[in-house]
C-alpha cells in the first residue's frame, strides 16, 4: 500500500475525519493510528453495503481496492507520531 497516495485520496475524508485522522464532527470516528486491517474491512463493508451509513456508502462506492489499501495505510500511519 502507498501511504502518499492514501494521503492524496484522503482529501475526500478530511471534512469529517481530518487529514490528521482526528474527527472534526462528533459522530465521525478518529482514524489516526487505527489498525489497518480494520480500516480496510470498514471501507469494503461500506462499499459492499454490508455496513450502512448514508455518507460512507456514497464515499466508498467508487473506491478501488488500491484506494482502500492506500487510505487504510495512510490513516494507520498517523498513529506513529
Amino acid at each position: 500500500a502507498d501511504v502518499k497516495a492514501g494521503r492524496a485520496k484522503a482529501v475526500q475524508c478530511q471534512a469529517c475525519h481530518g487529514i490528521d485522522g482526528l474527527a472534526k464532527i462528533p459522530e465521525a470516528p478518529n482514524l489516526a493510528g487505527q489498525t489497518e486491517e480494520y480500516l480496510v474491512k470498514a471501507l469494503k463493508d461500506f462499499k459492499s453495503g454490508a455496513r450502512q451509513n448514508d455518507m460512507m456508502t456514497l464515499i466508498a462506492k467508487p473506491l478501488t481496492d488500491a484506494d482502500i489499501a492506500n487510505l487504510a495505510a495512510y490513516y494507520h500511519s498517523l498513529g506513529k507520531q
Copy 2:
C-alpha cells in the same frame, strides 16, 4: 456516564480491544480516545443488528443503555493521556 463503571465493564472487551483501548488482534479497532458519540452508535448498532459482526453481536446484546454510555465514556477517556 460513569467512566469507572465503564472500566469495570470493559473486562469483557480487553481480549480484543485492550483495557488500554489498543487492539490486541489485527481485525479489532483501537478504541482509546475514540469519539464518544461514535462508540455509543457502534454498540447500539451491534446490539440492534443494524451492524453485523459475529463477536460484537454476541457481546453487545446484553448491554444496557447505561453500560453502553459507560463503556463509551471509558474508552473515550483513554485518549487524553
